[in-house]
Amino acid sequence: MSTKLNFSLSLAKPDQDLSTKQKVAVGLGAIGLFILFLAFLNIDFPNRVLFLSAALGLITIGTIVFANSAYLKKTEGIKNDGVWFKSISSRGILGWITGIILTAFYIVLYFYPQYLGLGMDGAANTGLISLFDPLSQLLSGRPASQWFVYGTFYTLAILIFGYKFLLKYRHNRYEQIRTGSVMFFQLAFAFLIPEFMYRLNSGLPYYDLKNIWPLNYYLFDEWSVKSFLSSGNIGLALLLFGIASIFIITPILTYKYGKRWYCSWVCGCGGLAETAGDSFRQLSDKSLKAWRLERWLVHTVLVFSVVMTIATVYTYLGYDSNDFWLTKGVFISLAIAFLSLVFLLTMIFKRDALGKDAKYGAIGYFITIALLLILYFTGTTHEVFFITSGNLRSAYGFYIGSIFSGVVGTGFYPIFGNRVWCRFGCPMAAILGFQQRLLSKFRITTNGGQCISCGNCSTYCEMGIDVRAYAQKGENIVRSSCVGCGICSAVCPRGVLKLENDSMKGRINPTEILLGNDVDLMDLINQK
């Protein structure tokens, strides 16, 4: 018999028609987008304030009306009916079109901002960007840039799709509070505060306080550090806060709550993924192959970004300790000492928890150290790894910052799922994941023997974790990639999964025989 038959695509497809109200909502949103499109075509609107408000307002109202109609009339509960029948959420034609448009937008944004109307060499903005000038003037008193336009879209997306998500999960307080949190951090920390800070002190670089190195890969660039240092006490305080964020604040919070405190509660990339990207979470690849690729890729990016950052700082440090105590040599030595300390402590105290991964950890460590030594012996102020340092920096910014996190990470939402960047590319996620796996109270607890292997948890895991593989063994889920979005627990029909912070003891609990069977047998097999 044929088992290849895919009967969710049977002859007569189930109706997925929109209600009249939803059609009106789509219409309103489309008008809003159309105004933006006209601006993109360089149509100069007579009253920018009016048309910008109309465009953003219509998109907002359209989304709100659509979400109300989709969820408010139904009873509270899981709302995944028809997810795999809808074109947009099952890699159908709408999914592909959306993916292509998003990708094209990112390419223009990163590489051809003049097409969006960015005024080059001091010229006034035109087109789409000029439409946003009034808003930018209002907030920071300067004309808009392509990044301001992007930031506005980004924030708006998190807010309106966050609203949709809040309705969808209105029975689930964890999801409600978490979504409120990402909406707040995006609006306040990523969007408004940096603009206000510019108003107060125009010398400061754009600084989103919650954007932590190495996700914020240019924090320690020469221009960035210089402008912090030249902005008086507040600049110095911000720079110190940036350093404390990664070395002090992050480990403490991750120990207490897991990496979710950042990835699905605070982070902007996570915020977009959880709100605008929610309809695509089921598209992530759950295969073992994808997991292997993920581990190689994300840790390679981490090694790369650590070495790159050290190399960058190295180039602008001096040789002579009489000028400044932190010379190139001292800096490299400190970096190697710190990495070695982390490596040794891990190997001494967490060797068992790492298991087979210890070997890969060691490889990563030695490659990093080797690169740093090469850097020390061959690097100059202008060249690192025999390449002009500026070129290396811009290559990193290009491949990781633009292509990976933007074009692939967000543009491909409708194809690979909403966490491609977070899973395969984010160096911050790799560091937090390392801490979560080895030194955190967080886990997803499996409820005894209650799992029926249905697969909802794995399907809706945006990080591509095969949650079921653990749940059906009665084993807790302790995975470095888990961002703690809580959806696996929400969609579980049998109440099997719970995200929680508990003691480190018994956190990882592989079992052979599940709870519910003969007590003697469980003792015999599991305690061995």
Partner: protein
């Protein structure tokens, strides 16, 4: 090398195979006529509802079987020759075994209704059932109305499924209240309301009289026994329970009753042949358990146990404390220990229900010793491990009520009801 052949690739057979592989190097073959690979039967509903694709129902990736040297044989066993230890397939080939495990599961019950074999009339158990459902009830144009007969767990799941495609459903339930052969009255009534809230036309105390055909041999309508009312429909779901799927064994020397009879070691009447899961029938009931347990968890537990026996550590099937779970539309249900619809002799129920009618618990306890015997919980998740421990420790009801928070398994930030439940329990005690 000893060859262990398992007929059926459901949870029981696959669990047995996995554990045999962990414990030994024996040759293992799993036979199935349903699908090439193991899938989660309990999740078929989510494919129809569009939550998942069929691929997502497979708990192991396709390479898993080869890697673990578990051979998969597609085919339908016609007869078992127990003397020569040979299986004969309808496809014409044969296979010999050293040890045979029968895990053929269940099939939907039919009670000889007129018209029960018409097109558009079916149960919901196998992948083929789901494929047929896609033919007869793909949307509310092909299927303008559906009738479900039988108020059990599969019936309500089918109602939820059809509802997800906006197909109007009439739900015939023989009992005076949904599932009240299992649930205490208040819980059952809460579910009645919940079902109606989802616009299901719930007909209690209603039996099917007959199913009427159109000129093409497809269902046209049904008639209700009690009222004689005729309801026109394009689809009829028969969900009046399941029974062991063992027709092909009835001819063999293996002793059967309703299911394949097994002793506590899961051995059938013929040496080297075992039966586990839905198709097995215990010669004597274990505790309060029925002799045939058609539940996912018990199938898995039998598989875990039998693997030990087959690998030289002969073990009785000794299930621990009873537990189960289900979901009724939006309301999750879990049970630990035993709660009967009516308290047994010298037992009493403590019942608490939330005013929003979507959460309640019922605990059964012994009124003489105060021993806690079991809990049904709706809309509040509870920890299996904690209740399992309390049941083993024979904790009394007061202890359980006052420590209830330790058993809560709801997601973080959820509202807790322990104080409310404790207050309600105190009040109950005062009125007694």
């Amino acid at each position: 090398m000893e060859h262990i052949v398992i007929i059926g690739n459901g949870i029981s057979g696959v669990t047995a195979a996995r554990h045999i592989r962990k414990l030994s190097d024996k040759k293992i073959t799993i036979i199935s006529s349903e699908t090439e690979h193991f899938f989660s039967r309990t999740a078929l509903m989510y494919v129809y509802m569009g939550h998942m694709k069929f691929e997502h129902l497979k708990p192991y990736e396709d390479w898993f079987w080869k890697k673990n040297r578990i051979e998969l044989q597609q085919g339908f066993v016609k007869t078992i020759d127990v003397k020569s230890k040979t299986l004969h397939f309808t496809e014409g080939f044969t296979m010999t075994y050293d040890k045979l495990v029968i895990t053929t599961g269940s099939k939907p019950n039919k009670f000889g209704w007129k018209g029960e074999d018409l097109n558009g009339v079916q149960g919901l158990y196998s992948k083929q059932d789901l494929e047929n459902l896609e033919i007869y009830a793909p949307n509310n144009k092909t299927c303008r109305h559906a009738v479900i007969v039988g108020g059990g767990l599969i019936g309500i799941e089918l109602a939820e499924m059809l509802n997800s495609r906006n197909i109007p459903v009439t739900f015939l339930v023989r009992e005076s209240s949904f599932w009240n052969g299992v649930l205490p009255q208040s819980e059952s009534e809460m579910l009645n309301k919940h079902i109606k809230n989802h616009h299901i036309d719930l007909r209690l105390s209603s039996n099917l009289k007959e199913i009427i055909s159109d000129q093409n041999g497809k269902v046209k309508s049904i008639i209700i026994q009690e009222t004689g009312e005729e309801i026109s429909c394009d689809f009829v779901g028969l969900t009046t329970g399941v029974s062991p799927n063992i027709d092909f064994i009835k001819e063999s020397e293996i002793e059967t009753k309703k299911g394949v009879l097994v002793n506590r070691f899961l051995e059938t009447s013929i040496p080297d042949i075992y039966a586990i899961g839905d198709c097995a029938e215990q010669r004597e009931a274990i505790g309060n358990r029925p002799v045939i347990e058609a539940v996912w968890y018990t199938g898995r537990m039998m598989g875990e146990t039998l693997a030990q026996t087959l690998c030289g550590n002969k073990l009785e099937y000794k299930p621990g404390h009873w537990f189960n779970s289900a979901k009724f539309f939006d309301i999750e249900y879990q049970t630990y220990g035993w709660v009967f619809p009516e308290p047994k002799e010298n037992h009493a129920h403590f019942h608490w229900i939330h005013q929003d009618d979507s959460k309640c618990i019922t605990m059964e306890y012994n009124t003489i010793t105060n021993e806690f015997l079991g809990i049904n919980t709706f809309g509040i998740r509870m920890r299996h491990e904690v209740f399992d421990t309390w049941l083993s420790e024979k904790q009394n009801i007061d202890y359980v009520i006052s420590h209830l928070e330790a058993a809560n398994f709801d997601p973080e930030f959820y509202k807790h009801f322990e104080k409310d439940i404790q207050a309600s329990f105190k009040k109950t005690l005062q009125t007694i």
